[in-house]
């Protein structure tokens, strides 16, 4: 901040806006909208193909949101990769030769992969699903990268491209197929919901894991000659 006057005015403005928001929330809380949505959701849950209401909303009733979300992720990954300075996305400078981390990883990687698979499967009837499992996969990848394990699929090439768009592509394909078949966009054919949701979730998990990992990996590397970011 440049001057005390500016600082005080900004502070006052923020306090006023916060008070306004607080008042709005308070009024909204006093007003019972009597929303029909939860009841409607419970009544139609059987038709969705999954037992957990959040998964049903994410991948059936409001799958449009999820489709756009994965589109946003793909775009973010593309921009992130194009910003990367290293050609191979793999820099030996980033590796740590920590013996403890290496030893721990032998135990962690299989366990984390198992946990990711469990989270994916659990999404059908309890909290879990593609995004949690994808985040788990990405965390495994980050750990593997930190110890310098070779992650060949992260090199810019066919494998990386396919991995990044796989989930989005299948999702879009299902949506378009149902639209061409005469149904609404993204309306699953009756009876096939469960199988379709499961296959979309599986590919989404892979893609999300790869996207998050690619974003982590593509942060440009520091040059030793340049100042650290903390110094100013």
């Amino acid at each position: 901040m440049r001057s005390p006057t500016a600082y005080v005015s900004v502070l006052l403005l923020v306090i006023m806006l916060t008070a306004l928001l607080g008042r709005a929330v308070w009024q909204l809380a006093a007003f019972d909208s009597g929303s029909e949505l939860p009841r409607l959701l419970q009544n139609n849950l059987a038709a969705s193909g999954v037992e957990h209401p959040v998964t049903a909303v994410l991948l059936n009733f409001r799958s449009y949101d999820t489709l756009l979300e994965i589109a946003v992720l793909v775009i973010a990954a593309m921009v992130g990769i194009s910003m990367a300075r290293t050609r191979s996305l793999e820099d030996p400078e980033l590796r740590t030769a920590d013996a403890l981390l290496r030893a721990l990883l032998r135990w962690f990687v299989p366990l984390m992969l198992l946990l990711a698979a469990y989270l994916l499967w659990a999404g059908a009837d309890r909290p879990g699903g593609a995004f949690q499992a994808g985040a788990m996969l990405a965390a495994t990848g980050v750990l593997m990268r930190l110890t310098g394990m070779p992650l060949d699929f992260l090199r810019p090439g066919l494998l990386l491209r396919i991995g990044l768009v796989l989930g989005f592509a299948l999702f879009l394909l299902v949506g378009l197929a149902s639209a061409i078949a005469g149904e609404a966009f993204l309306a699953y054919p009756p009876g096939l919901s469960k199988a379709l949701i499961l296959s979309i979730e599986t590919l989404l998990t892979l893609s999300i894991g790869m996207i998050l990992l690619a974003l982590f990996v593509s942060a440009p590397v520091n040059n030793a000659s340049e100042p650290e970011e903390g110094e100013q």
């Binding site: 901040m1 306090i15 928001l21 809380a29 593509s218 440009p220 040059n223 340049e226």
Partner: protein, 107 residues
């Protein structure tokens, strides 16, 4: 006052803190963190308010889950862009337009 409402009001306070940080702080990483705080506050308000009357409501929860993933991607992208900006200019702050003050530059 119910617990969910308390969550929503906590979200309001966090939103204020985040806004103050976004406007008042100059380091880009801090701005990004403040933006994240605003996002989390929004999620808290959304979920808290929806639970206030009818108990857990899956629709806002699914929306918030979507929002969390998008905000993670946005944060990661922000960090990548900030680092790129730092490499190109050596600055950790945005300049004052045309003036391009010299003292912003890292030594």
């Amino acid at each position: 006052m119910s617990t969910p409402l308390l969550y929503a009001l906590t979200g309001v306070v966090l939103w204020g803190i985040g806004l103050l940080g976004l406007v008042g702080l100059r380091h880009l990483l801090r701005k990004l963190l403040a933006l994240n705080l605003i996002g989390s506050a929004t999620f808290l308000i959304l979920v808290g308010l929806a639970q206030h009357h009818n108990g857990p409501d899956p629709v806002p929860q699914a929306l918030v889950l979507t929002g969390i993933v998008v905000s993670i991607a946005a944060t990661a992208l922000g960090v990548v862009l900030i680092r790129r900006y730092f490499h190109l200019t050596g600055c950790t702050e945005l300049g004052n337009g045309a003036e391009g003050s010299k003292e912003d530059r890292a030594p």
